[in-house]
Amino acid sequence: MNDRDPLERMLDELPGVDPSPTLRRRVFEIPARHPKAVPPKWLAFLLGPRAAVLAIVLLVLGAASGWASSDVGDSGAVSSEEESSEWEELSELALATDLSEDF
């Protein structure tokens, strides 16, 4: 014991204190005095990684259904020849004459 560094022995003379009841109350009442604004679970889901996974799955499904339905659009396309003949028929009806003969 006497072999100990005199400085260490002197430092040991400085005793510790116990927290006063007032301080204990102040520290333990912190959660009651400063309630946390914990987000609701549904918001946590919207902001969490599960929401990102869901969004990616929906995007993939959307893209897949888009490719599947793209063939339908091609059959409904109108060629330019069909379009011009329709115009000629309409002009005949409106003006009672075939304008194509004048040109």
Binding site: P6, L11, E13, L14, D18, T22, I30, P31, H34, V38
Partner: protein, 184 residues
Amino acid sequence: MTRSSVREASEVTLLELSRTGDEAAYRVLAERYLKPILNHCLRMLTNLAEAEDVTQETFLKLWQAPPDPKETPKVSTWLYRVAHNRCVDTLRRRRDTTTEDELAMDSVRPSRALERKQTAEAVQGALAKLPERQRSALCLSHYEGMSNPEIALVLGVSVEATESLLSRARRTLREALCPEGAES
């Protein structure tokens, strides 16, 4: 989680629970570290009222803005770092209005024997005259039993710088408290 299982939970779990607003987990951490943090603040500030204020602020931060357990697995290191920074702020604010001698004389508690009281006051006075980081490093090493790498984390300095701070602090205290053995 039941009260007993919260008490037995690891610090990382307690921190995770506290972050989600679990009051029981916060209370377990506060119970565990209230006394060490208060005593560290007291040795840094030598004033009980200020030490209590800084302690309360430290635990308020633990509740309101706790660290990420992935980045700070040891709660004690984080708490001591927050407390140290608050103590330094308090000392800097106080420096404008109080002299060093007044700080050294600001005794905080009665001791059982007069001699022990005088020694305690002398130690408190000598500690108060140390530069802030030397004082903090010495108190963390001697009273909290922290290793040099842990102290380095608390103070935000390298391990080599911590060793230097401790060495200078011990040399200064030896000269002040036990001048006959100051060379040892």
